[in-house]
Amino acid sequence: MFDFLEGYDVLGAFWMTVKLTALSALGSLVWGTLLAAMRVSPVPLMRGFGTAYVNIVRNIPLTVIIVFTSLGLADIFGMTMGASDDVDALSFRLAVLGLVAYTASFVCEAIRSGINTVPVGQAEAARAIGLSFSQVLSLIVLPQAFRSVIGPLANVLIALTKNTTVAAAIGVAEAALLMKEMIENEAQTLAIGAVFAFGFVVLTLPTGLFLGWLSKRLAVKR
């Protein structure tokens, strides 16, 4: 029944999706946390930069960003990202770059909303015993904020998993590109669609359930 799968590397394509997701998630967590720290910092210029970055990047379609990394950064500006003669590696790294730049703005907003859940008294107490801004943020506020935003961050991660399909637009050999190729060549449109839909349900559903459980367990009980 599933003999149409022969000759196609479906698992390989989904493995590429997983790699894209994992690397972009890591990158956007770091960059998003930095952005969130900037947005709440006492330095006005950093606050302005963080706000401008989030508002601009959030409103550009991810597709525009990813296509730009390929046609703009790579073709016109000759950006090689350390993979000058390997086209596949280059487009993979460009896709991760685009995904990180985009997803970080959502991570930043999630963490910022988490900072707002920490009771005012805690920060006040921390300031009263003489901790500096960076100490208040890194020792008192962020550890609690992270625990309260696991749920929203899980939503961002799931959205990111689905967004990696946009990398197909610049030819990264992941699930969406393979599905496009397969449904054009094979007759079983419905069966192929079902296989890929199942793949994404398998990727996103356990993530949501596990992180939902984790967020309940780790939430700071108040």
Partner: protein, 301 residues
């Protein structure tokens, strides 16, 4: 200029903030200078590449028709997805287990599949089993993909909106003898709609952004696709990207601002329930939002 996280700066903190500002400014300026130099080096700053955007032809031939297609697909998707979403959202709250379970499965299924897969699939389905002309097909495929995905997201918004109402509303409606259907249509839904409006407007931004997928993968003649044609004619890749990005930013920024204006207004007014749904608002407690939206595969695309 003070916040919970730091004291109102004294003389030392003021000096330190100025120092950080200067360092950050220098770094930012260096970055911008480097970008400017690189653009100059690759001849992206020559006036010939930017001139088309000051003339009407680039706009009337390429950009405005592209924008029109983007808006057309987004509006169609929204108009079709809203009633569908309301239907599934209400069905998920049904008293009958089978209706509830079926609607829940449908919603969770379409929410966990990337919208691009839905578009590709719809496109292929229309190729094989319908008489839609190849000119119209991209629009049909894009709208179908957007409707399937966003109807399920809107269903969750509707469900959360109805659940956010005080329980007494249903009890009072039942006490005066309204039937279940009447309770829903004349008591619960009208109130839930006001709480949902900001979230629905925010969802429009997601829809507008997702239309760009159709331009790259299906040849739908929306804004990003129009940019490609334009850049092929004037050979101005970087300027065309910048102009198109600015159009998207302005359009979506207007929608986001409208949504948050609406939200502030609803929060203030006495008539509404005062409950407002939103995922990126500062005031909302994410834990509470998470609870009302469930732990399924939703999220900010």
């Amino acid at each position: 200029m003070s916040s919970v996280l730091y004291d109102t700066p004294g003389p030392r903190a003021k000096r330190r903030n100025v120092l950080f500002s200067v360092i950050f400014f220098v770094l930012l300026a260096l970055l911008l200078w480097w970008v400017w130099l690189t653009m100059d080096e690759k001849n992206q700053l020559t006036w010939a590449l930017w001139k088309p955007f000051t003339q009407s032809q680039a706009w009337t031939t390429y950009l405005l028709p592209g924008l029109a297609d983007t808006l057309k697909a987004a509006a169609l998707a929204m108009v079709i997805a809203l009633p569908l979403g309301a239907f599934f959202g209400i069905a998920r709250l049904s008293d009958h287990r089978w209706v509830r379970a079926t609607a829940g499965t449908v919603v969770e299924f379409f929410r966990s599949i990337p919208v691009l897969l839905l578009m590709l699939f719809a496109n292929e389905l229309y190729v094989r089993s319908s008489g839609i002309s190849s000119e119209d097909r991209p629009l049909y495929a894009v709208v179908t993909g957007l409707v399937l995905y966003n109807a399920s997201v809107l269903a969750e918004i509707v469900r959360a909106g109805i659940l956010s109402l005080p329980k007494g509303q249903t009890e009072a409606a039942m006490a005066v003898g309204l039937r279940k259907g009447q309770t829903m249509t004349s008591v619960l839904l009208p109130q839930a709609v006001t709480a949902m409006l900001p979230a629905i407007v925010s969802q429009l931004v997601v829809i507008v952004k997702d239309t760009a997928l159709g331009g790259v993968m299906l040849g739908f003649t929306e804004l990003l696709n129009a940019r490609q044609t334009l850049a092929a004619v004037y050979a101005n890749v970087i300027p065309s990207f910048i102009v198109v990005a600015v159009i998207y930013i302005v359009l979506n920024f207007l929608l986001t601002s409208f949504a948050s204006w609406l939200e502030r207004r609803l929060r203030r007014s006495k008539k509404g329930t005062g409950v407002v749904l939103g995922e990126d608002t500062v005031e909302v407690n994410p834990a509470a939002v998470q609870k009302s939206f469930g732990t399924g595969a939703g999220g900010t695309t």
